[in-house]
């Protein structure tokens, strides 16, 4: 069961090798990267008894991505329901499954959520670039080839780990916190007072629609225009989940592949959990922003980290 591999028969719109992200190098201008729905990514590894940050595959949308097993193995699928099939058998996320040599795993289209995570025993093999195996195409760093490439047809994805004790999810995967709910918790930031009163009212009392301009750098929200009295500011570090408001008044929530510093004023930052939830939203979905305190956000993040036992 060791030395196994999956062959990419057909690539979909986007599938990347990811781990927890690239840390300790952001001061060099290198983006964080890593699994956009870090919660589902961790559960995928947890199901196989892997280290929680072992390299897994982030499959966006599906779109016909087809993988063929070269040998028998136990894998885990978590996160979005992309109407995956093992040969012709429907494969629901949130569990481990057996795949036999020659069997094909196909990701068709989103039924719930946007990003699925496929974990393999011990994690995929990939060169460690600046401390991480995560692919960042824009920066030509990481991934299965080390140069930031997404999967293309003909690629071979290998792993060498043994399958340990497989586990069962302690909750219903369809009700996973990153797949359901409209409320995104936001910790207000230091420019919040520079927004007009009307804008603040609108920010927290409207339903925002996910724009189709959404990728791993950021997700635009469509709704009423927000106005900040600061049109721009001196560029400063951008945290994960920062909600920046450019002059057109439409917020952009910054995700894992965001640039490291930037100069648009910000309402604040989504909590890590809310950011993971947003990363599962499809264009057209509706969300609302709910202000929370730093203390509550920290406590809920701690609880979330402690749930992986």
């Amino acid at each position: 069961m060791s030395g196994a591999a999956l062959r990419v028969v057909q690539a979909g719109p986007l599938a990347l090798m990811v781990d927890a992200g690239r840390f300790g190098v952001r001061h060099l201008g290198v983006t964080q990267g890593g699994a956009a729905d870090w919660v589902s990514f961790r559960w995928a590894n947890w199901l196989l008894g892997n280290s929680l940050d072992a390299a897994a595959l982030e499959v966006v949308l599906g779109g016909g991505l087809t993988l063929e097993a070269e040998g028998a193995a136990t894998l885990a699928l978590m996160g979005a329901d992309l109407d995956a099939r093992l040969d012709d058998r429907p494969l629901a996320p949130g569990a481990t499954f057996r795949i036999a040599a020659g069997q094909r795993l196909v990701f068709r289209q989103p039924r719930k959520g946007l990003r699925a995570y496929l974990a393999v025993p011990g994690g995929f093999e990939a060169p460690v670039v600046l401390g991480s195996r995560s692919a960042t195409p824009r920066e030509q760093l990481g991934g299965h080839r080390g140069d930031g490439s997404a999967l293309v047809g003909g690629d071979r994805l290998e792993w060498r780990g043994q399958c340990g004790q497989v586990r069962r999810l302690p909750f219903d995967p369809a009700s996973s916190v990153t797949l359901v709910g409209q409320r995104l918790a936001l910790v207000p930031g230091s420019q919040i007072a520079h927004f007009t009163g009307v804008s603040l009212y609108r920010a927290f009392n409207t339903t925002w629609r996910i724009d189709d301009r959404a990728d791993r750098m950021g997700v635009r929200l469509r709704g009423p225009e927000l106005h900040c009295r600061l049109s721009s500011m001196i560029s400063e570090g951008i945290p994960l989940g920062a909600v920046q408001v450019p002059p057109d008044g439409q917020p952009i929530v910054l995700l894992n592949d965001r640039q490291t510093i930037g100069g648009y004023p910000r309402l604040g930052a989504l909590t890590p959990l809310a950011t993971a939830r947003l990363a599962q939203c499809l264009p057209g979905e509706e969300v609302c922003l709910v202000a929370t305190s730093l203390e509550r956000a920290l406590a809920s993040h701690q609880r979330c980290l402690e749930s992986f036992r």
Binding site: V25, H27, G29, I234, E236, T260, I261, E295, H301, L305
Partner: protein
């Protein structure tokens, strides 16, 4: 977020560098990332190792004892640049706005040391300044989809070199053969905050001898 200043100034750098060092030391293993910029430092620490109150206390005590870095100001680099309209399509735009000849723009862009204020935008992308006031030129109305690696550009009073091909809206004046990306991808960018940079004009022959790519770039529409 640690805020030390509210304007861009070369005199900020010794303080930012000193704060960077002091905060790294104070947070030690609990530090995940520290992102210095022109006036601020953003801290990302591991909340499993360090409580928020304790983090604040460490930061405050590190900053209370801060002395500006003196000898610590970084290295000085001379970067050879081939200034030519074929690879620097905005030379004419900058010259026209400034009421100067292209030669005079080149002369002035090379005429002073620039400080590296911050890295960002892309691995190893150094924001440098300040460019002489007369050369200050706003960003392009529509950014280019592809700016070649090595392009040397200005925006307002800042200047930079694109380490790898990427989209970009700055005014491109020329190109250097110095390979910035390979070093950045090893985690050792050539240019670091606190460094000083001076550009030196070279001929096409010299640029080609250094391994430069002479593929022309069209002026932005």
């Amino acid at each position: 977020m640690v805020r030390l200043f509210d304007t861009i100034d070369e005199a900020n750098m010794p303080w930012i560098l000193a704060a960077d060092r002091a905060l790294r030391e104070a947070l030690g293993e609990s530090l995940i990332d520290l992102v210095p910029s022109y006036t601020t430092l953003m801290l990302h620490y591991d909340c499993r190792r360090l409580g928020h109150a304790e983090a604040l206390r460490l930061v405050e005590s590190a900053l209370a004892r801060l002395e500006p870095a003196t000898a610590a100001l970084g290295q000085r680099h001379e970067i050879p640049v081939w200034y030519d309209p074929s690879v620097g399509p905005e030379l004419a735009r900058v010259a026209q706005r400034a009421g100067l000849s292209v030669d005079e723009v080149v002369h002035r862009h090379c005429g002073r040391d620039y400080h590296v204020f911050a890295l960002g935008f892309a691995p190893g992308y150094a924001f440098m300044g300040l460019v002489e006031e007369t050369l200050a030129t706003p960003r392009l109305a529509t950014p280019r989809r592809r700016v070649p690696a090595g392009s040397v550009a200005i925006a307002e009073r800042q200047t930079a070199i694109y380490p790898l091909q990427s989209p970009g809206g700055w005014n491109i004046l020329g190109r250097t053969a110095v390979p910035l990306f390979e070093q950045a991808r090893r985690g050792e960018p050539l240019l670091m905050p606190g460094d000083r940079v001076r550009f030196a004009p070279v001929s096409r022959e010299e640029f080609e001898r250094q391994g430069g790519d002479t593929a022309p770039l069209e002026a932005a529409a």
